[in-house]
């Protein structure tokens, strides 16, 4: 904080605002965790007791286990492809100057701005024509589209901190392009690649609209939740929520710890000025 900055409103006001936002963000998550252990079918504050029976029900439900297996498969393959493509694009943007560079960058940043319901519709139409609608491959192809921009952004952020002349210097000293890449760029970018993998995994693991449109009978966990939501009150949703929160929150927090540790200095001028 700059020494001269006196806040227009008392400090307590801003901190209360922060607390309110965090309450809004985490109340539904904490509620899901709490009610996942409720003995009652209907979630209410007057809980009759704690129970793990809903966990037992979810973990022995074949359809749910199959959905989990689908989700893990799709998210794992998506994360691998999206991270590879995202890193390649970030490296290309960092290292080379080529015709249409801005157009490529714009294309790469477009998918997150197109409503998923429209992407789902368009992809279903396309996948039906090429005969892969209703397969997990179709879901992966679609998830890579929405996840790769995240991977590219994370890797590009890290590459921005690497001195551009280092790699050229290595090549001038006789290193082949791939060895300069392997010895200088990759070690520097590795944490971001890891973060990109975790974030794209989380993006895919939680995506439901496109999976719902293109996955056919192959349900992922979020699609199973969506289907359940359309029915009656079901306490198992809280269990699925708690389990998936644990997975994605852990992945994302590790990824963020890695990314923020590196880019913290670049984020704000106050540390540098």
């Amino acid at each position: 904080m700059p020494p001269h900055l006196k806040h227009a409103l008392p400090k307590a006001f801003w901190i209360a605002g922060l607390a309110l936002v965090f309450l809004l963000l985490y109340a539904p998550i904490l509620s899901a965790v709490l009610f996942s252990f409720s003995a009652d079918r209907f979630p209410s504050l007057s809980m009759s007791g704690f129970s793990t029976k809903w966990y037992a029900q979810v973990l022995t439900d074949r359809a749910m286990l199959e959905a989990l297996s689908n989700s893990l498969t799709v998210a794992g393959i998506t994360a691998l492809i999206a991270t590879a493509l995202g890193f390649a694009a970030a490296y290309a943007d960092y290292r080379f100057r080529f015709v249409g560079q801005k157009a490529v960058l714009a294309l790469a940043l477009l998918p997150p701005t197109v409503p998923l319901v429209i992407l789902g519709l368009a992809m279903l139409a396309f996948f039906s024509r090429i005969g892969i609608a209703g397969t997990l491959a179709a879901v992966v192809a679609a998830h890579v589209v929405i996840a790769a921009p995240f991977a590219m952004a994370v890797c590009r952020l890290r590459l921005a901190q690497l001195d551009e002349t280092l790699e050229t210097a290595a090549q001038n000293l006789g290193a082949l392009p791939h060895s300069a890449l392997a010895r200088i760029v990759l070690p520097h970018t590795l944490p971001a690649i890891l973060a990109a993998f975790l974030i794209t995994f989380a993006v895919s693991f939680d995506e439901y609209v496109i999976s719902w449109f293109t996955g056919g009978l192959n349900q992922t966990i979020p699609v199973a939740v969506l289907t359940t939501l359309q029915g009656q009150v079901d306490p198992t949703i809280h269990v699925i929520g708690t389990l998936s929160f644990s997975v994605t929150l852990t992945l994302v927090l590790i990824a963020l710890a890695v990314v923020l540790r590196q880019s913290g200095g670049a984020m704000s001028k106050e540390e540098t000025s």
């Binding site: 006196k6 922060l18 490529v104 409503p115 139409a125 913290g264």
Partner: protein
Amino acid sequence: MTSSAFPARTSGRRFHFLFNRAWQALWVLPLPAWLLLFFAVPLGLLVAISFWSVVNYRLTPDATLSAWRYVLGLDFLWASFWRSYGLSMASAVAISLLAFPASYAMAFVAAPRQRLILLGFAIAPFFTSYLVRIYSWQVFLTEGGVISSVVQALGGKGESLLNTYFALFLGHATLALPVVLILQTIALANVDRTGISAAANLGARPGAILFRIILPAARPGLTLGLLFAFLLSYAEFVSASYLGGGTFQTLPILVTDLVRAGQQWPRAAVVSLLMIASLLVTAFVTVLWAYREKG
């Protein structure tokens, strides 16, 4: 290509040139190729489908404007369009205002290290099950739910809050708040600190510093936050279905209904394209405003 410094000998110049080109293409091409195939082509197909017709419940390639004429002539569609647009814009403004004190606290009250940790926890929910969080809000908002129980304990009526704009807003905020927080905080944290100090040294009051130095300097980031809140709310259909209870017929719901109920692909395509066009116009105007020169 200007950048490679691959060691070239006279005899192998051409080989090295080709090698460098191939090496470069290996990095440049994969993502655009994937996006062209699985993003641009499907969207192009959607444009084409809007001109196709449905014959005996089967989608048939055609070049007719009938879906466009039909959809654009529906009063009901325009009502949905303006409702969707208005509700999302209202949500975006409300979310931006709600997020601002929190972003300010992270940018100016928290120490740099605390800010990073807070940002991490603020953005993490964005990647966790949105559907389950919406289901949780149902538990909070329904009659006999968490909020109504608390209100009743305090002597109030404790009616259900589902199917209200407040419920819809909560859904939109659940989705968009993390993104708005991160964009606002980065914008505020990057405001030039020397300008703030100079203004303070010259005797500017805290209110004047906020409104005349900080807010104008952070305007692009704050506006982008607003834009993203709008984009996310406009495209979202789970809140409208499960918290709004179908009271708010929005465009994404219309799109899914058209496809599921009547196999009306051309009409759904027209509604989708209308949504994309309105998003692009809104984004263009907003970005232009965010980056316009002062004065």
